[in-house]
Symmetry: C2
Subunit: 481 residues, 2 copies
Amino acid sequence: MADQNNKKLVAEITSMDEDFTQWYTDVCIKAELIAYSHIKGFMVIKPYGYALWENMQSLLDKRFKATGVQNVYMPMLIPESLLAKEGELVNGFAPEVAWVTAGGAEPLTERLAIRPTSETVFSDFYKDDVHSYRDLPRLYNQWCSVVRWEKETRPFLRSREFLWQEGHTIHSTKEEAEERTQQMLQVYADFLGEDMCIPTIKGQKTEKEKFAGADATYTVEALMHDGRALQSGTSHFFGQKFSKAYDITFTDKDNQLKYVWQTSWGVTTRMIGAMIMVHGDNYGLCIPPKIAPVQVRVIPIQQRKEGVLEAAQGITDALKNAGVRVELDDSDKGPGFKFAEQEMRGMPLRIEIGPKDLEEGKCVLVRRDTREKIECAIADVATKVNELLPAIQKDMYDRAKAHLDTHTFAAHNKEEFIENFKETKGFVKAMWCGDRACEDAIKEEYGVTSRCMPFEQENLSGTCVCCGKPATKMVYWGRAY
Amino acid sequence: MADQNNKKLVAEITSMDEDFTQWYTDVCIKAELIAYSHIKGFMVIKPYGYALWENMQSLLDKRFKATGVQNVYMPMLIPESLLAKEGELVNGFAPEVAWVTAGGAEPLTERLAIRPTSETVFSDFYKDDVHSYRDLPRLYNQWCSVVRWEKETRPFLRSREFLWQEGHTIHSTKEEAEERTQQMLQVYADFLGEDMCIPTIKGQKTEKEKFAGADATYTVEALMHDGRALQSGTSHFFGQKFSKAYDITFTDKDNQLKYVWQTSWGVTTRMIGAMIMVHGDNYGLCIPPKIAPVQVRVIPIQQRKEGVLEAAQGITDALKNAGVRVELDDSDKGPGFKFAEQEMRGMPLRIEIGPKDLEEGKCVLVRRDTREKIECAIADVATKVNELLPAIQKDMYDRAKAHLDTHTFAAHNKEEFIENFKETKGFVKAMWCGDRACEDAIKEEYGVTSRCMPFEQENLSGTCVCCGKPATKMVYWGRAY
C-alpha cells in the first residue's frame, strides 16, 4: 500500500532516462522549489526553494567575509550614459537590458537600465570614494536580483530575473587584483565542492567565451548527470579597463596618480539548477545535508497507535536539541505518501517509527542518497544522525566526483574528438591551437563549446584536434546549459 | 591635542540644534552609512550602513519565523494589467511607478511596473497555489527592494528605491486575518522597542491616511528628537478586497467555495532614519548595542609604547571570545581622531588603553550614549562589557521613552490644540469627531496630520477639537516626516 502510493507520486515526474529536460522541470515544480509566474522568464521562488537559497547564501557569505569582503547595496537602475562608458560591456549587455522610460506619468529624460550586472555602478561609486592607496583595496559585494532579457528561459538555469551576488573589488596593484580573482574562484570551488557536493573543473575562459569587458575570465565548470556542462561561477580580472573608462584613480605611496586594478565575481541561483542535475534521481531532489532546509524528516507509522506520535515527537526534539534541522510529519496523509514526498524534496534522511519499532525501542533511518535502511536504538538517534549527515555529505561528493571522472574523456586526435561528441557523454579534453577559427568551427560542427582552459594542463598531443597546427593549450569541451 | 582633533571632526557636522535637517544628512554621510548616487533618490548603502541593516534583518527575520512566517521571492516586474485589477491600489501607486517599456532592442507589448509593493503579485500567485482550507494560512514574506518615484527624497526617509520586507498572508477566516494583522504590528513594536530602543505609539490609521486598497491600516509611530513623527511600520487588513479582485478562493471545511482573507505588513530601511533621529546627537550616530555592527572599539593610546598594542589586542581577543562584536583600531591616526570617529559612527562602547593604564593593569571604558568613563581591570573587561551593553540598551530605550512621554501633549480644546502646534514639540493627543473634513482642515491650517487612533484610547473631552461636534476617537496628531 505504502509502496503503491509512493509509485503514484513518483509517477508524477518524468523519468530522467526518458526525458531529462522534462524530468528537471518536473522536479523544480513537484519538489516545490518554484512556481511559474505570469511573465515569461520570471519565477516565484517558493518557501522550500528560498530556504535552500538562504542556506547557500549564509554559507557563502561567511566564506566571503572570512576573506575580508564587505556587503553593500547599490542602486538597481543605471542611466544609459553611465552604462555606455565602457564600450565592450554595453555591447555585451545592450541586447538584453530592460529599459525604464517613465517614472509615474512623466517620461524620463534619459532611459534607465535595470542592472544586468553592476560594474558600471560600482565604478561610478569608487571613482569618488577612493583617493589614496590607504583606501585600497575595496572588497565590496552585494546580494541582489538582476534582469537580463533572455530569449530562452528555464527555471534557475536561465531566467530573465535571477538572484545572485556580485563582488566588485579594486586594488592598487595588478598582482593583488589577479590574486583576488583567483582567490574568489577558489572560494566558489570550495563552496560548490564542500557545501554543495559538486566537484568542478577550474580554468580560464577563452577569448571568445570571456565576459564582455574583462581581460580574463575564470570559471568553475560542473558536469550534470546527463553529461552536459554547467558554468557554475565566474571570476573576472578587468585590468584597468573600467578604471580608465570611469576614471578611478588613487595617489600611490610614490605620490603618483594611478588607475586602480579591478575584479568582479558572481554566482547565482543557477547553482540550484546544478544541484538538481548533479544529485537528483527518479525519486526527485537529493539535497546535500549542509544546505538542506530540512535535514531529517521524522515520519510516524500508524501514528494513532498509542505512544507512536509521542515517540516521534521525542526523536524530533532530541534531534532539534542536537542542532539538526528536523521536521515531524504528523499530517494525516499515509506513510507511503509521506515517504514519497520526503524523497521528492530530497531531505537527506528520514526516520520511520511505528508500533513494532517502539516495542523494540528502535527506529529506522533511511538515507535519501542510497535509500539504505539503518536500524537505530531510539536512545542513540541523535548520535547516529550526527554521524550519518557528514557521511552522506561525503558520499554525495564522492559519487559526483566519480561521475565527473568517468565522464571526462581525452581525445588525442580529431577522430577521437568526433567520436566522443556523437552523443553527449561528458567533458572532452583535447588540445587546441588557440585560434578562434577552430573554436568557431568546432561549435558549428559538433555543437560543443570550449568550457575552459583548465589550470591543470596536460599534454595529450602536440597538435590542435581541429586544424592539426601546433597546440598551445588543453581545453575542456562540452555541451553546455 | 586629542580634544582639538575631536572638535575638528565633530565640527564637520552641523549642530542638530542649529539645523536638524542638515545635521541628519551630515550624519548619514560622515558616519559612512550612505553615499549619494548619480540618480536622484537612489543611494549607495555603504558597508557600515549595510552591516547595520543586516543585523536588523537578522533579528526581525527571527521574530517573523517564530510566528510561522516563511520567506519567498516574487518577480520584480508586474504587468500593467495585473497591477490594475484592484482599482484603489493602482490609483494609489500609479503616479509613482517606474515603467519598463523595452526588453533589449524590442519594445514590450505591455508595460511592466517595477514593484512599488507586491500585493498584486502575491495575489496572482496565491490564486493558483491555494485550493483547500488545508492550504491555509499562507504566511509568506519577502526581503527585496522596491521603487517608488517620489518627488522629494531624503536618505532612508524617502527614496526612490528602498530595501524592505513585505509580508503577505492569506487566511480562511476574517478573525484569523485580523489577528495576524495585529500580531505583526506587535512584532514591529517589539523589534523597534527591544532591539532598536525606539518606543512607539500603536494605533489605527484614519480612512484618509490608510493604505490604498486596505480595509484597515495599523501603524507604529515614533517620535524623533526634533519633535516630528515618523511612521515606522504598517500592517494592513485587506478583508476580501484582493481575493475578490484576483479570484483567490478555497474550498472550506463545509465544502463551500470561499474567498480568502488577506493581510500585508512591511518595514523598510526608513527605520535606520528613525534610529538616527531618535538616538543621535551632536557627536554623530548612537547605535543600540543589539544592532550595532561594532559594539566595542578598542583604541590604544601611544600605541608604539611597549606592550600597549599587545594589551589592546589581548582585550580585543578576550571580547571576541566572549561573543562581543569588537574591533581594534590600530591605524596610525591620533587617538583624538579615533575617538571622534568611533563616536561619529555611534559604536556603543570604546575602550582606551595606554601605557599608564597598562602599568596599573586597567583600561577605561567610555559609553557612547552618556560619554561616561568607567575604569575597569583588564582581567575583568569581558564581564564588564557584557554588563554594560545591556545596560546601555536599556538606558537608550528609557531615555527615548522619557522623550516621547515629555513630548506628548493633551489638548482638551481648540485653543490648547493650536497652542501646541505653534512650534513642533511632539505629539498632540486630541479628540476628533471622525469627519474627514476636520482632518483636512487641521492639516491645511496647522500642517499636522493624524498619526493614528491609538489602541489606548483616553477620553480627554466630549467634543472634536476642530468642529466642536461630539467626538468619537482620540487621535495622535503630529508633524510627520
